[in-house]
Symmetry: C2
Subunit: 323 residues, 2 copies
Amino acid sequence: MQAVEISGAGGPEVLKPATRPVPSAGANEILVKVAFAGINGPDLMQRRGLYPPPKGASDLLGLEISGEVAAVGDGVTRWHVGDRVCALTNGGGYAEYCAVLADHCLPIPDGLGLREAASLPETFFTIWSNIFMTAGLSAGETFLVHGGAGGIGTTAIQLGKAFGATVVATDSPGERCDFCSDLGADRVVDYDAEDFVAVVRDTYGGADVILDIVGGPYIARNIKAAKPDGRIVQLAFARGAEVTVDLMPIMLKRLTYTGSTLRSRPDAFKTEVARQLEERVWPLFAEDRLKPVVDKVLPLAEAAEAHRLMESATHKGKILLAC
Amino acid sequence: MQAVEISGAGGPEVLKPATRPVPSAGANEILVKVAFAGINGPDLMQRRGLYPPPKGASDLLGLEISGEVAAVGDGVTRWHVGDRVCALTNGGGYAEYCAVLADHCLPIPDGLGLREAASLPETFFTIWSNIFMTAGLSAGETFLVHGGAGGIGTTAIQLGKAFGATVVATDSPGERCDFCSDLGADRVVDYDAEDFVAVVRDTYGGADVILDIVGGPYIARNIKAAKPDGRIVQLAFARGAEVTVDLMPIMLKRLTYTGSTLRSRPDAFKTEVARQLEERVWPLFAEDRLKPVVDKVLPLAEAAEAHRLMESATHKGKILLAC
């Protein structure tokens, strides 16, 4: 089959088309004929050699896919050859075929095509598990989302609104801020022009839940912006993780500071996330209360170009590969 | 009535005997004829002027008491004049009488006297709420307790063991380390001689839950000592809260870093803690699975001396005043 492999740690140019054997569906797995694969932040880290794949995982990039079931492994009862699915993978999505755990697959939401469905798994598993299951965001709470126009951010804004939170999003001025408004954010903060701490405290009395991918100087500011009993979730540290910070408010305001990476979660946890997504979130697409946000689709062979686009941070929503 | 008041922010010498009117039991309150009052860390902070009492609270120190019910306010059905109780107060314990919310009172555990019972509320409310309700310590997990021989530490070690955790305690060499062993700690770390990070990681693969009152350089070390999915609870910052620290492991290990102060918790939360303590913890005293740890009892008029003893940090367990 055709695939794109990492010829050596480095820039986007290290991504090279290659021919690989079609993987087989092991026990409890299905083999998917990949239609589209999503590009995610961890892919860039892995390409640079900073995020090695876990033991036993494919060395190919690609953490989410959509496509048609081409074969089913032992023990799989739910899926059949020809079914259309989207899936969270353990790597291997930048290819014509990918083997995935059957329990990490979901049906294509009603009303969506394979293209849109490929954009969902990574960010929906991430936001649902961190913001709803762990941080317990609930209706009526204030939810501060940094980087609102990115892949993680667009999902966070939409899920926050769908479940009744007041959403404040930060991003760069102009098009990206406007995009956050279009997605339903109640208040958008242009981070060049306004102080999000002041906005959130003055307008909403602080944030109940904060989703951060920036880190660095944002860490102390998030602690200031949080309400008593607030929860701060760190999903990346774009501006660094080593900081000098006064942690006293963690105790005085009873804050919870936590974070995670999705790939390292145990399989059983991901299965539970998939179950909750199918039950509570997937129906919202048919009701038009959620919409996938696809910025651009490039052919698999142009994965390097897709990475360049991702690194420019000018995209709004997901970048996909047509495999 | 006799009481001890703070004549001005400062050292133990600012604590002066004084005569005050007997408080009255408001709605949902009871008036307790105080037998014993416990001394706690926040008392020292308040005496120094660093921890002002919340609005509406007594200006007198004393966050926990035992004694006999002298009067009941409107709406109180559970308690009657003459009942013996122990209680979490909102201040005012360093006195002959103290008014407390009826829902924050508990019976004297079977087999204990008023003296022992006065030593329980502050640390048992604190450990139960933070370590069991929030951090979810469960049987089979490893629980690292810093300052194991202090008031908070002795309660943490005993509750950890009573509910099936493996307990590692740190404290200063000699008597205090020995005392942690006597209380049931599975492993005691003399912090002058051993690195608790190495001990916990090498022997137990890390800690699931960490209780810290030290802060400062311990913060980065706690993050290193924690297992994946570990929870770190900060209840004081004896060595400072402003630190330079690498927070990346919070994300990579999915840690939860949190903390609280007991006094600022809402009344309804304290009521729920009291309910759980009575149901799940109080019976363990009669079964000899928990024992109160009283270091010394001084007369109310010697509160200044009791504070000196507390500040020397040579005590093991609680210091009480006989009121």
